[in-house]
Symmetry: C2
Subunit: 219 residues, 2 copies
């Protein structure tokens, strides 16, 4: 009867595997919290979408809030690991800015759950991030890369010398986050889907132009 499909998502009991159970719960939790928020997500529903039971959530994460914090940590560390792969050191400063901006842009588009979790965490005044040691001490590869580009551009007298890396990072994030996070209300009001694939290249180029023209203004 029971055919053995070794890696099917929610089939056989799959024996006992602590790490697998834990990570399956986490994956489901990320999706649920991102979809409905902390208060809107239901522990029972998260459990039902895994192969295990609610009891295991309490066993591994202590409670709803512990699960939420772990989900946040997992989402953040995953994103940061991806960012670490960015390599723009070999490009000239202007090209490096365009590349970094484009990568950030694509990145945000392909991780909507992460963006939603960040929005939700802001609604909670970042209370959980502040409480998490993991998240407090997380390195920021994208900002580091940006800082080095700006230094090179400035040394080569190609960029203005009065800009702060965090401010530039903020500009880029603002645009990319807004496009994803505010997609729905923006579309409802302006009848324009900022994530329409037909407009993707236009917006990716636009944010690159925007930042680069700011950095090279008057030069």
């Amino acid at each position: 009867m029971a055919t053995q499909t070794p890696d099917s998502p929610a089939a056989a009991p799959a024996g006992r595997d602590a790490e697998r159970t834990r990570s399956e719960i986490l994956a489901v939790a990320i999706r649920e919290f991102a979809d409905k928020g902390f208060a809107g997500a239901r522990v029972d529903e998260i459990a039902a979408k895994t192969r295990t039971t609610k009891r295991m959530i309490y066993y591994y994460f202590g409670g709803k809030e512990g699960l939420y914090i772990s989900a946040l940590e997992q989402a953040y560390t995953g994103i940061r690991a991806l960012e670490q792969q960015v390599d723009v050191e070999h490009l000239d400063p202007a090209e490096a800015i365009r590349r970094l901006t484009a990568l950030t842009f694509d990145h945000h588009e392909s991780h909507p759950d992460f963006i939603r979790l960040v929005s939700i965490e802001n609604i909670h005044y970042a209370r959980h991030i502040a409480r998490s040691e993991i998240l407090a001490g997380l390195a920021n590869p994208a900002l580091d890369a940006l800082t080095r580009i700006l230094e090179r551009g400035r040394a080569a007298h190609r960029f203005r010398d009065d800009v702060d890396p965090i401010d530039v990072h903020m500009m880029i994030s603002a645009f990319c986050v807004f496009r994803t996070a505010n997609r729905y209300t923006f579309n409802a009001i302006f009848k324009r889907d900022m994530l329409d694939p037909a407009r993707r290249d236009h917006y990716r180029a636009m944010i690159g132009d925007l930042v680069l023209e700011y950095l090279t203004a008057g030069r």
Copy 2:
């Protein structure tokens, strides 16, 4: 005993005044929904913070969701009414852009509840805005003003001619919304409060420069 302080927030029964009861409930609801989100807000708590009872919420708004939609509508129409007062027609295009940008900037800073409601509504995929006739047909004074500025700038050959008003509006919004909406996680990670009054002028000028340099690039 009971001293009559005519306008104290939560004192005497104040007789029967439908309009007053309704608007008091709405004001409290806006704050509660903005603070805790739709799922996180509690009907009982909203009622407790008014001078009336939960019964009245159901009497006037039908239910929690009806109240939430009314709160959204109230917040949006209030903001739009303010935007309507923007007058930049007498300024030259560049100055008008700076002025409009600065107004938008200050505007977002002084209405955090509105920004939070928009974030929350995006978490709900703008489902309620889409359902509301009031919100669907609301005029957009800020975009209209921007459109006219861009036309004037373009006619005077001061601005590039390949920019779309909605895109420019999006840039400005992105920056201003991000600064308010993502304040908490940004501060937790970069240890920089984007709303620190000491940095306000810097950021207000920065968004003006950013937009203006984009619009006048190569000119």
